[in-house]
């Protein structure tokens, strides 16, 4: 299992190996699952209560299906760890964070200075997402 380089959570990391989405429903003791780009994140919604870690794999950074998977899980109330793994680059981390990812395990570790700058670069955002940041239109209209 990929160890996160960045983790924005205080709870104990899950040590269990992640299983695939199609086998997760049958393994009632599994707490970690791995989403591949073609998987339907909504297949996990009946099991959210027992999931503590979701790894979303990005085999290539340009395949953006994992962004939707993450938001769908968070919008359904998923509270566990959401970890981006694979081809995760420094210029994607802010977008991933906005979609609900709170852990990052890039295949090639990010340059720490670049990554720290990237996480905090933009003070404000135009869209509301489940990350809870106040969109600019709400700031304008108090």
């Amino acid at each position: 299992m990929a160890e996160p380089q960045y983790r924005f959570r205080d709870d104990e990391p899950v040590g269990d190996p992640a299983v695939t989405v199609d086998s997760f429903g049958d393994q009632s003791n599994a707490a970690a699952v791995r989403i591949e780009p073609g998987d339907d994140a909504r297949a996990l919604l009946p099991h959210l209560e027992r999931i503590r870690l979701v790894e979303v794999n990005f085999p290539v950074f340009g395949d953006g299906r994992g962004y939707s998977a993450a938001r769908i899980l968070r919008e359904a109330g998923y509270q566990g760890e959401l970890r981006a793994v694979g081809d995760v680059l420094v210029d994607q981390v802010a977008f991933l964070r906005r979609c609900g990812f709170d852990a990052f395990a890039p295949e090639v570790p990010l340059n720490p200075a670049d990554a720290e700058a990237a996480f905090i670069r933009f003070d404000n955002v135009y869209q509301p997402t489940i990350d809870g940041r106040t969109p600019i239109w709400a700031l304008r209209h108090g």
């Binding site: 780009p37 950074f61 340009g62 395949d63 953006g64 299906r65 962004y67 939707s68 998977a69 938001r71 919008e75 680059l89 210029d91 994607q92 802010a94 977008f95 991933l96 906005r98 979609c99 340059n111 670049d114 700058a117 670069r121 933009f122 003070d123 404000n124 955002v125 135009y126 869209q127 509301p128 997402t129 489940i130 969109p135 600019i136 239109w137 700031l139 304008r140 209209h141």
Partner: protein, 542 residues
């Protein structure tokens, strides 16, 4: 016009610094060209055949005179003294140095402009009707809605790595002047029986190698749900659009393969879910934006007559001007298609002159059109002759709007690394050959693409030309009967292609067949639709 507040300005300024940092990392060798490519692409910077090309966004085609002036200054300072206005209402500079690109973005930011999302697989610049706010036939000014979409789509975290690029257009007239149904999402603002404004959603149109006319998937989305509905359309696409083949990755293929009904059902289900997420900007925000698009202070006493005693002026007045919603005013199109010129190009001096004229005669405003011309939307009829004289002196007075010389052409093999054939020289030769017959031929929209990606909109041309590579030689295929607008249709290929001189002859022959067959002042398109392909084929290949 929309004016940035401190939030908008901070977004753009921060992006400039981010890009400066990215370029620095590249120039110092900390990142490879492969790693840099997606970063520069998100900033509209392409590596072309000879140099870097920078594409600057012109949201919904609207420019203030200060912005137009800056575009001219940038052309002088960082390019070779000219720029190229594009079919997506943007401007491109073709001779850019990588190390200067951050400075260009900084200059743009000074006039509230940017190059954000002018390339990459994300939501691109939202386009609109070039006569918005001036046209007599609009239900409402579409630009505030386009601005709402601009903000929502800027740095959208979920939709920055879509299967492919994504283009949206917003119009508010039955006459479609923005090729709305040839976009990934086309929105037509409409008014229902209760007088409420809503958005009709057309999804899955596009040109490229598989041209499709977007089907209507929802005739009336309430205006306070437009962003949520867009988000639903995009989410279904992001999850299920094809990623196995770049050429089948646009949303038109998804809508086509699923079928309109199935795609719509998925969007409606996602929409229902997203309504619970409260992502829609409040109507207060729309009102705030709308307040910045109120009519300029029109003079109610402006004289409604034009002195047409100069015949050259009268011809230009007939060809290049559109009725305005206010008496005493008129909307003017400045042709960037001089006879034998490069379609859409303007020199730095011409841009600065157009900026001055916009300030003096059009309430500080001008527009870029998808046909690669410039519009002064609000000109007093009393000023029209003086304006025309100044345009004419600067080589900007060509009277050929929607005529055969008003050619849309992509940059083609002269600049573009994707092209198979040159487009510009073909446009120049046709323009020179047929300029004398322009008035006799009347409305005829000719569009040229230098490869099947169709950036020159050849599918939608009354006459379309597609440049291909045939065994190492440039070859040009002829299409007839395409049309954008309310009666959108796709052109049909005539038969075997032609060489560079042959295609110019073929276009001339096509116009001759039309002139011989024309009845009662029909447009070329009407005649073609009436008589069909056969007589044209006979003349071309018989």
């Amino acid at each position: 016009m929309y004016k940035y507040d401190s939030y908008d300005q901070a977004m753009v300024d921060t992006r400039v610094e981010e890009f400066r940092d990215q370029v620095k990392r590249r120039l110092e060798g900390h990142i490879t060209e492969d790693q840099f490519k997606p970063l520069r692409l998100m900033n509209g910077l392409y590596l072309q055949l000879h140099a870097y090309m920078l594409r600057v966004a012109v949201p919904y085609g609207t420019l203030s005179s200060a912005q137009m002036r800056m575009l001219g200054d940038i052309a002088d300072k960082y390019d070779r003294g000219y720029g190229h206005f594009t079919t997506r209402q943007n401007i491109q500079y073709n001779w850019i140095k990588l190390e200067e690109a951050p400075d260009i973005l900084a200059d743009l930011a000074k006039v509230e402009m940017h190059a954000i999302q002018t390339s990459g697989n994300c939501i691109r610049n939202t386009t609109s009707d070039q006569y918005a706010g001036a046209a007599a036939d609009e239900v409402i000014d579409p630009r505030p809605y386009a601005e709402l979409i601009r903000q929502w789509s800027t740095f959208h975290p979920e939709f920055s790595f879509l299967p492919r690029k994504f283009k949206m257009a917003v119009i508010a007239s039955d006459t479609d002047r923005a090729a709305m149904r040839l976009h990934d999402i086309g929105i037509q603002l409409v008014r229902n029986e209760m007088g409420e404004i809503g958005a009709a959603f057309y999804v899955g149109g596009g040109m490229g190698r598989t041209p499709m006319i977007a089907p209507l998937i929802n005739p009336f989305v309430p205006i306070d749900q437009m962003i949520t509905y867009s988000e639903a359309c995009l989410r279904v696409y992001n999850r299920y659009g094809r990623r196995d083949n770049k050429y089948k990755a646009r949303i038109k293929i998804l809508v086509h393969e699923l079928g309109k009904e199935d795609y719509t059902a998925q969007v409606e289900a996602e929409f229902l879910h997203l309504l619970s997420q409260n992502i829609e900007p409040p109507l207060d925000e729309l009102s705030r934006i709308k307040a910045q698009f109120v009519d300029p202070p029109f003079d109610a006493a402006a004289p409604d007559t034009i002195d047409r005693s100069d015949p050259d002026f009268a011809l230009w007045n007939d060809t290049n001007c559109l009725p305005h919603k206010k008496p005493g005013y008129i909307a003017v199109t400045i042709s960037l298609k001089p006879v034998g010129g490069i379609p859409g190009d303007a020199s730095a001096d011409q841009m600065r002159l157009m900026a001055d004229l916009a300030r003096e005669y059009s309430f500080d405003e001008c527009r870029v059109t998808h046909a690669q011309n410039i519009v002064l939307p609000h000109v007093r009829k009393a000023d029209l002759y003086t304006l025309w004289q100044q345009l004419d002196t600067a080589g900007l007075g060509t009277a050929n709007l929607d005529r055969i010389g008003d050619i849309i052409a992509c940059p083609g093999l002269d600049y573009c690394s994707l092209a198979n054939a040159r487009s510009i020289p073909v446009a120049q030769k046709i323009s020179e050959r047929l300029s004398d017959k322009s008035a006799a031929i009347g409305e005829l929209k000719l569009k040229i693409s230098g490869c099947i990606n169709a950036c020159g909109h050849h599918h939608a041309g009354h006459i379309g030309i597609l440049g291909v590579d045939r065994k190492g030689v440039e070859n040009y295929q002829l299409l007839l009967g395409g049309c954008e607008g309310a009666d959108t249709s796709l052109g049909q290929i005539t038969g075997p292609g032609f060489d560079e001189d042959g295609i110019v002859d073929a276009v001339e022959k096509t116009t001759e067949v039309y002139l011989a067959a024309r009845q009662d002042g029909e447009r070329f398109l009407d005649t073609y639709r009436r008589v069909g392909m056969a007589p044209f084929k006979e003349a071309l290949y018989g």
